[in-house]
Amino acid sequence: MSSGSAFMPARSKRGLRRVLVWIVIILATCWALSPFYWAIITSFKPPGVILTKPSLIPFLQFKPTLFNWKNEYISRGREITGALANSIIIACGATLIAVSLGTMAGYGLARFRFKRWKNKDMTLWFLSQRFLPPMATAIPFFILMKTLNLLDTRWALIMANATFTLPFAVLIMRDVFKELPVELDESAMVDGASRFAIFTRIALPLAAPAVAVAAVICFAFSWNEFLFGLILTYKKAQPVTVIIAGVEHTQGIQFWFVATRLLAAILPPAVLAITAQRYIVRGLTFGAVKG
């Protein structure tokens, strides 16, 4: 898929360049992973050591212990797994809705011309949904869900998150669809294909990796959403972000639980992100028209 390999500079330069590239990649990877490493070792440190001893290397500088993990899962295990399940359901549901509606809208904005309400204005309108800070609409959302009798349900959060992440899908997919050459669509139209068929058989397969990216981003935003998860739920539909916020109480922040909960909260999305991207792409390219 990469078009950069179509040309090659001179041999020796290529070798040096490759080494430099790899050094940068390694550094960047370390930078991306270092907070996780820190979270892992912190979760294995005895509570008394976390704030009193500078220690980066387990076994050498501190004695790792399962104390925090045991504590967490014996006393909060049920809440945490429940919250993880809630978060997974909410994020998946919201992503499904946001990406489906958003991809279609992105395609529509990229390929059609609207007269009354111009394309760019519509795009701006979708973008403007992200302008308002969440707390401005927190209370009215609460009232809305209370009226619909949806307080403390996962549906409320699915709908809220779908609404908030839809603009990402629209904007990203719009750009990607615009990049796709129009000629493909035109030739299919000449063959008599319907608009929707062109969308599913030609445009989607070509844009499949971008759909995966949009899905990842919508999932991430829904997964990390805190304010509405707090306001709209009481107990049954609490997402994992609220459980994480619960590390702070009158005796301060329990840093050892910050580490364990951060790691627990990153596991499902990491797994999903790594595995799902491939399946999204595969699924979308399944009906591709070759050539």
Partner: protein
């Protein structure tokens, strides 16, 4: 600019006999628009209406027209949080977009293990910002934190107390924020890069083999729409930054890292001064609308 001549920008379906089939366009954008309207109409109207009232807890609502908006301009906290937020917007967006672009170009080459590294780079955006902020307290701890441990090993004698100094606190927040959001820019820019048609490069390689010239004259112009989208998304999101200042510095020391959203949160949900909070939110909306419109007008030919 080669880009302008490469392809037509006018959508094809409005030409000739295709124009009659325009009905389909509503089918594509309709559901999305209806969904958004359904869930945002009531909250928007409610909060907009509230911004014209004095609505404190335990007191009846009084219609005070634009007084809330006017009050913002004489509120020293409003100006303080606006400055702080603009600082974060400028620094964060510039750094995350540049870093994201650099990483995307890096990963755009064919190489083994690309998927593995891409997955690794996706992980930071799944980290709950609140957890990250709390973890950051231990990372930036003056004596035992990771950052200062490394600085100490490098020989620095006077270790910074990150949260005792306004500028150090801001830098700490910027560092955490960049860590979290560069992957976002990276992913979107990479997707954009990978969707660029290969023929363009094949044509160009006949003209020049310099990587930098390729980038400047071909890649960059083609990538500009995606770059623009990423930038505007980052600007919009960073204007609302809340979770990390909330958990990492609580807006401190003093008000040095109290951002606009934080102030709205305090005003609306802590102090239950709902009218003023709504007004502040809509003022932010106006600012962001102005910025977006400016972007749209300037880059009209690209963003049609």
């Amino acid at each position: 600019m080669i880009a302008g001549g490469i392809r037509e920008r006018i959508p094809p379906f409005t030409r000739g006999k295709m124009a009659k089939k325009e009905g389909a366009k509503y089918f594509f954008v309709g559901p999305g628009i209806i969904w958004v309207l359904l869930f945002t109409l009531f909250p928007l109207v409610y909060s907009l209406r509230l911004s014209f009232f004095r609505a404190r807890l335990g007191m009846g609502q009084q219609f005070i027209w634009l007084e809330n908006y006017g009050r913002a301009f004489t509120d020293y906290r409003f100006w303080s949080v606006l400055q702080v937020t603009v600082f974060f917007v400028v620094c964060d967006v510039a750094l995350t977009v540049l870093l994201g672009l650099g990483l995307a170009l890096l990963f755009h080459r064919a190489m083994r293990g690309q998927r593995f590294f891409r997955s690794i780079f996706t992980m930071p955006i799944f980290t709950a910002p609140i957890a990250l902020g709390y973890l950051g307290l231990t990372i930036f701890h003056e004596e035992v934190g990771a950052v200062n441990t490394v600085l100490r090993a490098l020989g620095l004698l006077h270790l910074p107390a990150w949260f005792s100094n306004p500028w150090l606190a801001r830098i700490a927040i910027t560092m955490v924020d960049i860590w979290q959001w560069t992957p976002f820019c990276f992913l979107v820019l990479l997707a954009g890069l990978q969707s660029l048609p290969a023929e363009v490069y094949e044509a160009a390689v006949l003209d020049t083999s310099s990587g930098w010239a390729m980038f400047r004259h071909i890649t960059l112009p083609l990538l500009l729409p995606v770059l623009f989208t990423v930038t505007i998304l980052r600007v919009v999101e960073t204007f609302k930054i809340l979770d990390i200042p909330f958990s990492l510095t609580s807006g401190g020391p003093g008000m040095a890292t109290q951002t606009y959203s934080f102030y709205i949160y305090l005003t609306g949900l802590r102090n239950f001064n709902a009218g003023y909070a709504s007004a502040l939110a809509y003022l932010l909306l106006i600012v962001m609308m102005a910025i977006s419109l400016f972007f749209f007008r300037r880059l009209r030919q690209i963003y049609e």
